[in-house]
Amino acid sequence: MDLINPAVVDLSRFQFALTALYHFMFVPLTLGLTFMLAAMETVYVVTGRQVYKDMALFWGKLFGINFALGVATGLTMEFEFGTNWSMYSRFFGDMFGTPLAIEGLMAFFMESTFVGLMFFGWDRLSKPAHLAITYLVALGSNLSALWILVANASMNVPHGAHFDPETLRMTFDSFVGVVFNPDAQAKFVHTSVAGYVAASMFVMGISAFYLLRREHRAFAARSFRMAALFGIFSTVAVITLGDVLGRLDYEHQPTKIAAIEGLWHTSKPPYEPWIVAALPNDAKQESSFEIGVPFVLTPLITHSFDTPITGMIELEDAAAPRIASGITAISALRRYEESHLGADLEVFHAHQNDMGYGLLATRHAPNQDVTAIAPEQLQSVIEQTKPDILPNVFVTFWSFRIMVFLGVFFFVLFAMASYLSLKNQLERNRLFLKLCMWSIPLPVLATEFGWITAEGGRQPWTVFERLPTFMSASTHSMSYMLFSLAGFTMLYSIFIAVELYLMFKFARLGPEAHHQHDDGADPAHLSVVAH
């Protein structure tokens, strides 16, 4: 009997989370720094001032150290769907593979080919030609993010595909539906702009370090100001698009939004508070120590004052008939697989919208076979399956809050940084400069929690309401999983140690000293970013 081993599924999930979150420690900087490099080089080409070329070269070097790990860990992601999520890849690959392949063809090829010229081509290309290359790298990395998020959005909101009983998988039927998936559009902007925030903080924090040490002052003051202004605009965009995403989740993924808000019972507008902090208990299905701000939740999520938001308990109850109908759908599908009778197909079609809920019942069915559920067992299987429709509320609730609190902090920090920089009062505010420096890792942390919110909140599905995560994993043995996990843990630990060592080393070294004489401007006399 071929059974799914839940421990292997858990290890596969753990490995994917580990490798994906690790990959995304490097991606935000790549997304943002490429555009900042392009901006610096633009100023250099327009004004001809050496300090801007120094900026592009120096930040480019740090970019390169980061980029290598982004590329290396990205390879893992491209493989991992096949190596660890075989059923998912077969079930959803017709649709999911397309944006991934387009990403390679349209974006990653361009980014990777031109990044070589960006580093090596300074002496071989004219200034405008090199600038064009830098822009192509920035465009490539951001287009790359676009297609990856299009792919990701299709897991959350599977537009543009339908299930085909002949091939037992989701069949791709609308390119437009996939690309213009509203979730994809909002997610792309939210995520890539979050990368700009991370890059701004990176440049601003390291510049603050030089200002604190009174080294490379002209260089640092210019970099700081550029980063602060880039950062404030990006933060505003991140927050705006975050709001759009919340509303989309409310429309398409009610379980996710209810878990994010810790909403066990349907809300009572308009009074319903937005819970700032609480301790959600997944087992008891209730929260303790709730602290909330009244009247905020309803307008925040629904953009109205009188629409109730369905709570998790009510969502569970609403799922019961769908689970029953799904079990009927899967049983009919299995009969059809053997009989190829039109009657079985008809039953399946009548219930196919609920088939995902039928698959969800697999783990509670005898021998993991929903077709073997006896009529007298049905009610108990449904009751056992009901809580499975919810993600882990504690994790979803808190990862969302950490992301949001950090986002608000960035807004304040960048606003102050822009103000102090434009007023030329930075060097007097040493405590503020220290705060900027220590904040360097925070945007990356916020992005990671964003991913945990989005993908943890999507559970228990890999393809929302179509394919449960439990069924998506490859059927490896425990020893295979332990082997790969041990390897990833070891390699990735070495990588991060080396990366941090090099980052610190080159950040401490600073821009090359011999260029400093080319630009004698005192930072106190800087009036605007681009002269």
Binding site: I4, G64, A68, V71, A72, G74, L75, T76, E78, F79, G82, T83, N84, W85, S86, M87, S89, R90, F92, G93, G97, T98, L100, A101, I102, G104, L105, M106, F108, F109, M110, S112, T113, F114, G116, L117, F119, F120, R124, L125, E166, T167, L168, R169, T171, F172, F175, R334, E337, M471, S474, H476, Y480, S484, G487, L491, F495, V498, L502, K505
Partner: protein, 378 residues
């Protein structure tokens, strides 16, 4: 012919093109990595060798990524099943692959001798292993792989990974791929380096080329007696579902049936052997630019030979032959294949253009004296 069948065939062809591009371009960089410790004795020489492919390795590597992406999009069932069935081998491949970008970027950023020497070993490992696994994978699919599907389409593995690794035919195929990659890497070094790197690269390229010819011919003889697979029944236009619709039998020597039916196919192995020999001759005659193009022919001949004998199989199953993955039962939908084809027709020519342009911009010899002075290079 049915449009869906044509699309499946076109994509099988494009997959071959990608596998050739991967072998040629990624193989070349990996060959340089494998040779690094042998062609360069001093740090300056090794940095020179690295900077010869420095501006291009990242772009070339996308052939590899795109290979994965294209299989995912065009033959999702093949991607899902092969990557999982070969799990341990794929993970080893992945570990060695992800070490490479890091090695390029980090090796020359620190002066310490131990640091650089360690990364040089990483280059050897991350050049040799992936090409070995790449070749061995072809060996394994030629012999057939143990797996079956249940009714939901979930695969289950029937053989241990050890049978794929400790397998003489797979080892032969792996070494064959490594030989081609070392030859191509040596040729690239010859084009853009001066002595002493140039002469050492010439030495290794010629020997690797001869080894490739010998292994290729030995593999051909081996396949004659090997048990191959025959698709007895299966409609090319079938819905892409590996669970039913095919009847497959196993027969000794079946991998030569296509050649017997269409003798013109013998041109493919012939092309491979002739190009490999010509490449060796051109290397010895110190004509590396022309030799490089022979490398293209060698890869076309090699991949083409395997494709011609296995057609229409991708990955036959020894334990459940009827569920063997073929071009017909593992492809994407007609709509998906059409979309991907449209995108490829726009972007593949574009990619070839800008890749060539990059090589043009970076043309010419790399001088060790310049590299040693430059702190921005690898």
């Amino acid at each position: 012919m049915d449009v869906y069948v044509i699309l499946k065939l076109v994509w099988a062809g494009l997959l071959c093109v990608l596998l050739i591009g991967l072998g040629l371009m990624v193989g070349m960089d990996m060959g340089v990595g494998t040779l690094l410790r042998f062609v360069g004795r001093t740090d300056g020489e090794r940095r020179t060798a690295l900077n010869i492919i420095g501006p291009h390795w990242d772009g070339n590597q996308v052939w590899f990524i795109l290979g994965g992406g294209a299989i995912f999009a065009a033959f999702p069932t093949l991607y899902a099943t092969s990557f999982s069935v070969f799990y341990v081998v794929m993970i080893v491949l992945l570990f060695s692959m992800i070490l490479r970008p890091v090695a390029f970027e980090y090796r020359s950023k620190v002066e310490a001798r131990l640091w650089r020497a360690s990364w040089d070993w990483v280059f050897l490992l991350s050049g040799f292993l992936p090409m070995f696994v790449y070749g061995a994978a072809f060996g394994n699919i030629l012999q057939g792989v143990g797996y079956h599907f249940n009714w939901t389409g979930q695969y289950f593995q029937d053989n241990s990974f050890l049978t794929y690794l400790l397998n003489p035919f797979a080892i032969l195929c792996g070494l064959m791929a490594v030989s081609l990659s070392v030859m191509q890497g040596g040729v690239m070094l010859m084009i853009r380096s001066e002595n002493p790197i140039h002469d050492r690269a010439q030495y290794f390229a010629a020997r690797a080329g001869l080894m490739a010819v010998v292994l290729f011919l030995a593999g051909g003889v081996w396949v004659r007696g090997m048990s191959g697979f025959v698709l007895e029944q299966g409609d090319p236009a079938m819905p892409a579902n590996p669970m039913h619709g095919q009847h497959v039998s196993m027969q000794a020597g079946a991998w030569l049936h296509n050649y017997a039916a269409h003798p013109v196919l013998w041109l493919l192995p012939l092309l491979g052997v002739v190009c490999m020999l010509a490449e060796v001759a051109l290397v010895l005659a110190n004509r590396p630019r022309m030799a490089w193009w022979m490398g293209l022919g060698a890869w076309v001949g090699t991949i083409g030979t395997v494709a011609a004998s296995m057609f229409p199989f991708f990955m036959p199953s020894t334990t459940s032959p009827d569920q063997s993955l073929t071009i017909w039962n593992s492809s994407a939908s007609q709509y998906g294949l059409t979309c991907m084809l449209a995108v490829s027709l726009v972007f593949v020519p574009l990619i070839l253009c800008y890749t060539s342009w990059c090589y043009y911009v970076m043309r010419g010899k790399v001088h060790t004296a310049d590299i040693v002075k430059d702190t921005h290079s690898y």
